[in-house]
Amino acid sequence: MPDPTESVSQAAAPDEALLAELARLIVSALNLDIKPEEIQPDVALYGEGLGLDSIDILEVALAVSKHFGVQLRADNENNVAIFRSLRSLADFVAANRSA
């Protein structure tokens, strides 16, 4: 029987490959004028950081859904905590993607 705590800790620590994959996905989905490796894992994706807005976030959510089979949810538009940073998005995808 798998140890549940082990799978949680794995999910909570997305690997570099997933971070890089998500960065590529964001740059291509939004046609951004930067290289994927320029997106720092802990810099805010919206507002002052990378500057994404709610339209971008819907586009990225769609790309994430198509690519990883993970549907994003929020209580409302202001609740976009998943998009706090590349790392928080990766955490969410790692925890919810189908194995």
């Binding site: 002052e48 339209i55 769609l62 198509k66 549907q71 949810r73 409302n76």
Partner: protein
């Protein structure tokens, strides 16, 4: 003098709104309105930023009982809020969570425990009373106010409710992805339900899965009020839509393919609405059947000397429109795009002149201009470019300053620093020259990638 009821609901148990899958009765709504009206500060103007649509509607009703006018600016950037304070010195902010960085006296949404009792007594509001002032970004850097009187608003949304079939189906619930603070969401979710006897949902679902979950929680026939961009992502992500009675779409013309797809997948008719902040809703069309727009009752849309005008019906003064129209038979019309200076991105409208004015107001900017590329994706959102002469300023600093002044949807992508703008001898910036600058930028990107 004519007085018009706040809501069209006639019995205490009639449902005004749904929240988290629970109906809210007309009696509860009116008790909440009375409670909020008693608690509100004695000021003349309110910025109602409640994100819960029900609380927005309570705040709106309470403000009207107190004779206060609800201000609806196009965004809440610090610069816009500063301008609003200049417009109305007694302005305060009604918020249902921390009003964040809005620099106004804050009034937290009051919790009302009082149980409603007795027969339903619906307050009546003078038709001439000012209800809201909606702002568009003018071309000179100052937001332009458009006053909305209660009588005109009611007439507008009752006309709309007839098209949406809500007057005959008061059991329907409107779920909207647009905020109540935007003219489309204000009329087509909150007011259209209040004035038809139907209901609206308090939420504002964002991700496609949220939209489906919100619809699934409502145990009543549902109408979805949405924008083209949101509808496109919904259809792209969700295989099976919940059953709907109608889809209502506005803010930008929908592509015929997406309209057909939406009707096929939902089994519901899709109704597009045409309107603008200045006039409210003006016309509707069943997009899978016709490209012609049918004006709301008594509304006239005409082209005079190359300029389109709206008048009649709820439109109190003949108003110029920023779209290019062609009238057809029976008062109907077709749209042929927007006038050159107007930009409309994801339901937010501005003008290139306004945005360029804001850019040139930044200290250190010697010259600058916003540019809208020609290739707009179907049902997608075009992004603006900006070319700026600002020696000594970085792109990050410029974007930071712009963020304080304009809605983020208009932030330029890319913002290109140049040595000089290609101004003609007259000082004008010919569009082909800007297009060439933009193309050069795309080529440069291609080489970098």
């Amino acid at each position: 003098m004519a007085r018009l009821p706040l809501i069209a609901h006639r019995s205490p148990e009639s449902v005004v709104a749904w929240r988290d899958g629970q109906p809210i009765s007309a009696a509860r709504y009116l008790a909440d309105v009375q409670g909020a009206a008693a608690a509100m500060p004695g000021r003349g103007h309110v910025l109602n930023v409640c994100s819960d649509r029900y609380r927005f509607a309570v705040g709106l009703g309470a403000a009207m009982l107190r004779g206060q006018i609800t201000l609806m600016p196009p965004d809440h950037t610090p610069e816009t809020v500063r301008q609003l304070r200049g417009f109305a010195a007694d302005l305060y902010c009604l918020a249902d969570k921390a009003g964040g960085d809005i620099n106004l006296p804050q009034f937290d949404f009051p919790l009302n425990e009082a149980a409603p009792a007795g027969p339903l007594r619906v307050p009546e509001i003078d038709a001439q009373q000012g209800c809201a002032i909606v702002f568009t970004s003018g071309s000179t850097g100052r937001p332009e106010p458009h006053a909305k009187r209660w009588g005109a608003l009611v007439r507008n949304v009752v006309g709309e409710a007839a098209r949406l079939d809500l007057l005959a189906h008061q059991d329907r619930v409107v779920v909207a992805t647009v905020p109540p603070q935007h003219m489309y969401g204000f009329e087509s979710s909150v007011l259209v339900a209040m004035q038809s006897g139907a209901a609206f949902d308090a939420g504002r679902p964002f991700y496609p899965a949220d939209i489906c979950a919100t619809l699934a929680r409502i145990d009543a026939p549902r109408v979805l009020v949405i924008t083209p961009f949101h509808l496109r992502t919904l259809l792209a992500e969700v295989a099976l839509l919940p059953q709907l009675e109608m889809i209502v779409c506005a803010t930008a013309p929908l592509s015929p393919q997406l309209a057909r797809e939406a009707e096929l997948r939902s089994g519901a008719p899709l109704l597009e609405i045409y309107g603008c902040t200045e006039t409210g809703q003006l016309a509707t069309r069943r997009s899978t059947r016709t490209s012609e727009w049918e004006p709301l009752p008594d509304v006239r849309i005409e082209a005079r000397d190359g300029q389109a005008w709206a008048s009649g019906g709820h439109v109190e003064r003949a108003t110029p429109l920023s779209d290019i129209i062609e009238t057809t038979a029976g008062g109907r019309f077709v749209l042929h795009g927007r006038s050159a200076d107007v930009v409309n991105l994801a339901g937010k409208r501005s003008s290139l002149a306004y945005l360029s004015h804001q850019l040139n107001s930044i200290e250190g900017v010697e010259d600058g201009v916003f540019y809208l590329p020609d290739d707009v994706p179907d049902d997608g959102v075009a992004r603006l470019a900006a070319f700026v002469v600002a020696p000594g300023l970085t792109r990050a600093a410029l974007l930071g300053e712009l963020r304080r002044r304009i809605d983020s949807v208009f932030l330029p992508r890319p913002l290109v620093l140049v040595d000089a703008l290609p101004r003609a001898a007259t000082g004008k910036l010919p569009r082909p020259a800007l297009a060439e600058l933009a193309a050069a930028q795309v080529r440069r990107r291609g080489q970098l990638a």
